[in-house]
């Protein structure tokens, strides 16, 4: 509030009383401190806005491909949220985020390097030998203690 009032004063600082105040050493010091603070907070806000903008852009880009990581932000005259909710009210993204947060790093990465995974990923369904489905199976008693 003080800061806001101060800058309002600065903006209308033509009145004789305010000009007198500007010459006071304490006021000059306060002015310098607050200006720095204002500059810093402006820079911070700008940086924060840029970051948000960056995230929004990233989400838009990602939104084109992977709705697990986005909230759809694409121009569309048709009521998009209505349709999406009509298709399903469920949000499996939340469960995914929860699991991802609890995941121990580097555990299970070998699956992504497995030939089966690579072949499945690269398949286009055009060849006879192509398999569209990758089924990962495990016994409930195996690895429970270690992968948890």
């Amino acid at each position: 509030m003080l800061l806001t009032n101060f800058f309002q004063w600065r903006l209308i600082g033509q009145s004789p009383g305010i000009i007198r105040l500007h010459k006071d050493p304490a006021f000059v010091k306060l002015s310098r401190i607050l200006s720095t603070h204002h500059l810093l907070s402006t820079s911070f806000r700008t940086a924060k806005m840029s970051r948000n903008l960056f995230h929004d852009n990233l989400n838009s880009l990602a939104g084109n491909c992977c709705s697990f990581n986005n909230t759809a932000t694409i121009n569309n005259a048709y009521p998009r949220p209505d349709i999406l909710t009509w298709l399903s009210p469920l949000e499996p993204r939340l469960r995914h985020e929860d699991i991802r947060e609890r995941r121990a790093r580097n555990v299970g990465e070998w699956v992504l390097q497995a030939e089966e995974f690579k072949n499945w990923y690269a398949g286009s369904g055009r060849s006879e030998s192509d398999t569209g489905v990758l089924f990962c199976y495990g016994d409930p008693g195996v690895g429970k203690t270690f992968i948890r």
């Binding site: 992977c66 709705s67 299970g108 489905v133 990962c136 199976y137 495990g138 690895g143 429970k144």
Partner: protein, 209 residues
């Protein structure tokens, strides 16, 4: 609910989904995932599971396909608003996967009601028959393998999920890093843990597989 299987498969599924999402931008592909949950098994019908998948894939499109917009208009006009049926969802899903390469990941088939699981697999097979380029990732217990292969017309590759030594060591590092009593740990004890636990667990895994 048997937590072990669920958590093991969840872990792998989440890794796979993240990898697919990372690459989706580059390859302009759609990714959708669903985690089956025993506690919600009654609500997790094929209609609801594939509805959630469809929602994610549609959400990833720059423009909602006209067929889906039209279906939405028709439903809004219907008196009392008829609920979406599995056939409706499947038809829209086929429209979407025909427009863009798509990955559908469904975790924890063992947590589904049996009838639901069967219908789900049959439905996925229909999607694959129309759009063989679609990639489907599934997890479940070993005894489901035969059913999965049969329902999906044999188009199935499999990977056995079992902890390997690097997994166990990484996991131990992770848990040791979270130790609430670090004063009780010294380098000898840590080295001992990192040596012996993987050995014991490998013996144990070997005995149970």
């Amino acid at each position: 609910m048997e937590e072990g299987q669920s958590l093991t498969s969840c872990h792998v599924s989440s890794l796979v989904i993240d990898r697919l999402c990372d690459r989706a931008v580059e390859h302009n592909a759609g990714v959708a995932g669903f985690y089956c949950d025993f506690a919600a098994r009654k609500e997790q019908s094929p209609t609801n599971i594939l509805g959630a998948v469809l929602r994610q894939l549609v959400g990833g499109l720059a423009e909602i396909p006209e067929e889906i917009k039209q279906a939405h208009r028709d439903y809004k006009r219907a008196i009392g608003g008829r609920r979406l049926q599995l056939a409706d969802i499947l038809s829209m899903l086929q429209t979407v996967v025909s427009k863009k390469p798509s990955f559908i990941c469904i975790d924890g088939l063992d947590e589904c009601v049996v009838e639901y699981r069967t219908k789900l697999l049959v439905s996925l097979n229909q999607v694959l028959q129309k759009s063989p380029g679609t990639r489907v990732f599934l997890t479940g217990r070993p005894q489901m393998q035969a059913d999965v292969v049969r329902r999906l017309s044999g188009r199935v590759m499999t990977i056995l999920i079992t902890p390997r030594r690097p997994d166990i060591i990484s996991y131990l590092h992770y848990r040791l890093g979270e130790d609430g009593n670090p004063d009780e740990m010294d380098s000898d004890l840590e080295a001992d843990i990192l040596k012996k636990i993987p050995e014991i667990s490998e013996m144990w895994v070997g005995a149970t597989t």
